[in-house]
């Protein structure tokens, strides 16, 4: 089904609300996600996980497990080669394969509760589970540390004897849990504070949270006798899966073919490998396909929740409201191996604003909890929560409206960011103006209700992208992209292809190709898939159009530069009676006669990704007797550059906002003193349910990104950045209390209310 568009500039489908091409399969249960794939003769794989948060693995005896009837393979660290220490860019973070292999399968130590220690493949899940119980692991339990500040203390249990802090002088001679120190600065921070009329300094604390995707990790892998392999997996990056697995298993990249199944949520958490190398190693050993699916408990304990952190912020402003100095110190948990998103956290902290003097320092700290994976604008929600809270305090101290204060200091075209670049056009001011004009902003509130506003920034990325457009014999077009579709991408890409070629939307059939079908594609992350994919389609379409003009030139005995492709037809630039324009369908029918199959491949390393800025507005109510918070109303305004599909852009705003609501109010990893996770399930890891939130009004602002053919900016990540600050600011307005610790759960809120208003005073 299609909906005829009313786009501008010759766009018939881009900018309209088309029905997504994969929609029918998704609403009927036909779509195949990772756990929906099966192969005849497959085995079920299960993982044995460390019950200890920190322990030396002295020995592993798998003999009894191997002897159990139905068990076809058992693997341990002995089945994986050790890797040298080597940093490789992967997404917005750097990856060290020495760490990757150890996270996938522990070697010397178990570094978190849930760390994989062994795995089995058996003819049934029941037998596999029995086999795990028969594996004898001797652990030498060590003291553990989880909290980031505790992990930085001298005398804290050390996770890695070979981890020496990078980025400090003099170079340390003892190992610690601080992997690195990073810093950005511009101007002279001390001079900046001297100029300030008002200075606010605060310390904030956040707890680890999980991406919370509803689909647990799932993979099906089969290795043939000739050493080639095929994998079906729910992932945000099947080329990345291929690369990681090839390295970890010592295979040629070209010998592994990875199919991207439909993916049930990722948000950054499915950009790395957990089960895939295990399934391949088991299949290689058992010579049968192996299917592995994580339980929900395993997802919480053994995938990649984001950092818990401690953030100090100190900001200075003149009495007129000009920000003159911004300082911050970020301490982020990396989990069992280095690589927290402290670097982007540092870079984004003050990025929404033009501030002459900035200094932000960050520490990447390991501790005995799962290795952090990306979570939607990794690092930024935490640092920007802290800064947006302090901005709000400055507004109050100066008696300036919080939107006005942000407007006065908003980064814009030409602003030099403290982290390096000079910005092109930015939409922050437009989002602030949009919020100011809403009925929401102008609605009066009652006692114990509060309104909060906050803005947010995320850079977005481009990256390597390969998309093919193939014209079929009947003139339909097969579009093959290589970035898994996690939220409606195929609809946007099909619209772009249809508009570029001037053909109906439903004549474009988009699929996500496997790794054998297309050149390298970087993963779906960094808000890049619509931005880069559409760019690559423009490139591929150009190739088709140019090819068709060349063929027409031969047919019509004209020069190629006398011919153009417009309105879905190849035609002479100057109309001629001797020549009838040919549609794509016409040409498709004579493709063979005119030179062969018609198609184009866009192979690019997309550059020019533009940051997306957003402003959120929230009203909430606090029950003063219980500390319970109800979100009453929520509005998001964010700059999309150009919304290829407005409904899916709005969907990103709404989804990110609700994740932020959960992070602000109730989500957190709760560890016992024993270092074990106490809430490894959806019952006690409290994500928002439908009755917890109102409708989320979404205002799509469009300040075109001049470096994209349609003006597109990635939008997927920014929406999770402002909610933490907006809700904290609303809480301050509702209660008079500045909450500097997340989540703002009822026991904390009630305690703070009692401290401020007395035991009876907060009531009624």
């Amino acid at each position: 089904m299609t909906m005829a568009g009313n786009g501008t500039n010759g766009q018939q489908y881009v900018g309209t609300r088309t029905i997504r091409p994969d929609g029918a399969d998704k609403v009927t249960g036909r779509a195949r996600f990772g756990a929906d794939y099966n192969l005849a003769g497959q085995l079920i794989g299960k993982v044995l996980r460390s019950p200890h948060p920190h322990a030396r693995i002295v020995s592993i005896d798998t003999s009894k497990a191997e002897a159990l009837p139905g068990v076809k393979a058992v693997i341990t660290r002995d089945d994986f080669a050790d890797m040298p220490s080597e940093f490789i860019p992967a997404g917005e973070m750097m990856m060290n394969y020495k760490d990757v292999t150890r996270n996938v399968m522990a070697r010397e130590k178990a570094l978190y509760e849930g760390h994989a220690v062994a795995a089995v493949a058996a003819t049934s899940a029941v037998i596999a589970k029995k086999a795990l119980k028969l594996i004898d692991v001797t652990y030498d339990v060590l003291p553990h540390v989880i909290d980031v500040v505790e992990a930085m203390q001298p005398g804290a249990p050390i996770l890695h004897d070979d981890l020496f802090t990078v980025g400090v002088e003099p170079k340390p001679d003892r190992p610690s849990n601080v992997a690195k120190r990073v810093e950005i600065s511009q101007g002279d921070i001390d001079a900046g504070f001297k100029r300030a009329d008002v200075i606010v300094e605060r310390e904030f604390k956040t707890a680890p949270v999980h991406q919370g995707y509803i689909e647990p990790h799932a993979v099906l892998a089969t290795v043939s006798e000739d050493g080639s392999a095929e994998v079906w997996v729910s992932t945000q990056g099947h080329y990345i899966v291929r690369a990681h697995c090839a390295r970890l298993l010592g295979m040629d990249i070209g010998k592994i073919r990875v199919n991207a199944a439909e993916i049930g949520g990722g948000f950054g958490g499915k950009t790395v490998v957990y089960l895939e190398p295990l399934a391949l190693a088991l299949s290689r050993k058992a010579k049968r396909p192996v299917k592995m699916v994580m339980s929900r408990e395993e997802v919480f304990k053994a995938s990649g929740p984001t950092s818990g952190a401690v953030v100090k912020v100190k900001m200075g402003a003149t009495k007129d409201g000009k920000f003159v100095a911004g300082w911050a110190e970020l301490k982020y948990q990396a989990g069992a191996f280095q690589g927290s998103p402290v670097q982007p956290g540092v870079m984004c902290a003050y990025a929404p604003y033009e501030i002459e003097h900035v200094k932000v320092v960050g520490y990447d700290v390991v501790s005995n909890r799962p290795k952090v994976a990306a979570y939607r604008a990794p690092g930024a929600p935490i640092s920007e929560y802290a800064v947006e809270s302090v901005v709000d305090e400055i507004a109050k101290k100066l008696g300036i409206d919080p939107i006005q204060l942000r407007m006065m200091n908003a980064a814009h075209e030409g602003t030099k960011a403290a982290y390096g670049p000079k910005f092109g056009p930015l939409g922050l001011e437009e989002t602030l103006n949009s919020i100011k004009k809403t009925e929401h902003w102008n609605t009066p509130l009652r006692k114990w209700q509060g309104r909060g506003v906050a803005s947010g920034f995320w850079f977005n990325i481009g990256g390597e992208t390969c998309v093919s457009l193939t014209v079929n014999e009947d003139g339909t077009v097969s579009l093959m992209a290589g970035t898994p579709d996690i939220g409606g991408l195929r609809a946007s890409l099909a619209a772009v292809a249809a508009d570029e070629l001037g053909i109906p939307y439903d004549k474009v059939r988009p699929i996500i190709g496997d790794t054998g079908s297309l050149g390298f594609n970087f993963l779906t992350g960094g808000s890049r898939s619509a931005f880069s994919g559409s760019m690559a389609i423009v490139e591929a379409a150009k190739q088709i159009k140019s090819e068709l003009c060349a063929r027409a030139a031969k047919l019509w005995e004209m020069k190629p530069d006398e011919i153009e492709y417009a309105g879905g037809h190849v035609k002479p630039k100057v109309a001629s009676e001797k020549v009838t324009p040919m549609s794509l369908v016409d040409f498709a029918k004579v493709a063979g006669k005119t030179g062969g199959p018609i198609g184009g491949v866009g192979r690019i390393n997309a550059q020019g990704a533009g940051p997306s800025l957003g402003t959120h507005l929230v009203d909430l109510e606090v029950d003063p007797e219980t500390g319970r918070v109800t979100i009453l109303r929520y509005t998001v305004a964010q700059d999309a550059g150009k919304a290829l599909h407005p409904a899916y852009v709005e969907g990103q705003f709404q989804g990110g906002a609700v994740q932020g609501i959960g992070w602000a109010l109730n989500e957190e990893y709760i560890y016992g003193a024993d270092g074990k996770l106490q809430n490894a399930g959806f019952l006690d890891y409290r994500m928002p349910v439908a009755s917890d939130v109102p409708k989320i009004d979404a205002i799509v602002v469009e300040v075109a990104n001049p470096r994209h053919p349609y003006g597109v900016r990635g939008v997927g990540e920014t929406p999770i950045v402002p909610p933490l600050g907006a809700i904290a600011n609303a809480m301050e307005n509702a209660t008079g209390i500045r909450f500097t610790e997340l989540p703002m759960s009822p026991p904390k809120v009630l305690k703070a209310l009692k401290e401020k208003y007395g035991a009876g005073g907060a009531g009624r």
């Binding site: 994969d22 609403v27 009927t28 756990a35 929900r296 409904a647 399930g681």
Partner: protein, 158 residues
């Protein structure tokens, strides 16, 4: 230990299957009957991705044993469309972009259908509370609620 032999009606068709005692209805649907539309998100009844109706009652199939459903009627997502015609809820979910990754969608559709069969004119609050057992992490629920409201209106018109 011999398996249980169970006969039931699934989406209007008689089925029979063998199952172990500990297999849930969800296990049976997905692994034995190959109806993979119902999803496993948590195995503890907290996410609703496995929602089906059992004798017309909305339940989590991960909380029902396969051997309990002898003689019972089960409706899954696969039975919601009639031939090529999508149910109004399915149609409205597509029109309102009420799905992003789509993993929770079967559960929401089954649950919403059960709601509208009982209450053809629910308020927004009633919809949200009825669907509180269906987790979505992508959409923030907004467009799902709008789609259900719109479908309810369309279905009332008949």
């Amino acid at each position: 230990m011999a398996k249980h032999h169970v006969e039931a009606i699934v989406n209007g068709d008689p089925v029979e299957f063998l199952c172990e005692t500990e297999e849930t209805l969800l296990d049976v649907l997905r692994d034995t009957l190959h109806l993979t539309g119902s999803k496993e998100g948590c195995s503890s009844g907290d996410c609703g991705a496995c929602s089906v109706t059992l004798d017309g009652r909305l339940v989590c199939s991960c909380l029902v044993l396969g051997c309990e459903v002898g003689g019972r009627t089960i409706e899954t997502i696969e039975g919601m469309a009639k031939g090529e015609t999508l149910h109004p809820l399915q149609q409205r979910f597509l029109e309102h972009a009420a799905l992003q990754c789509g993993i929770c969608t079967p559960g929401f559709l089954v649950a919403s259908k059960a709601l509208l069969e009982r209450n053809p004119n629910p308020t927004e609050t009633e919809i949200r509370y009825w669907l509180a057992g269906n987790l979505c992490r992508c959409t923030g629920y907004d467009k799902i609620i709008t789609a259900v409201q719109d479908a309810a209106g369309a279905m009332r018109k008949g």
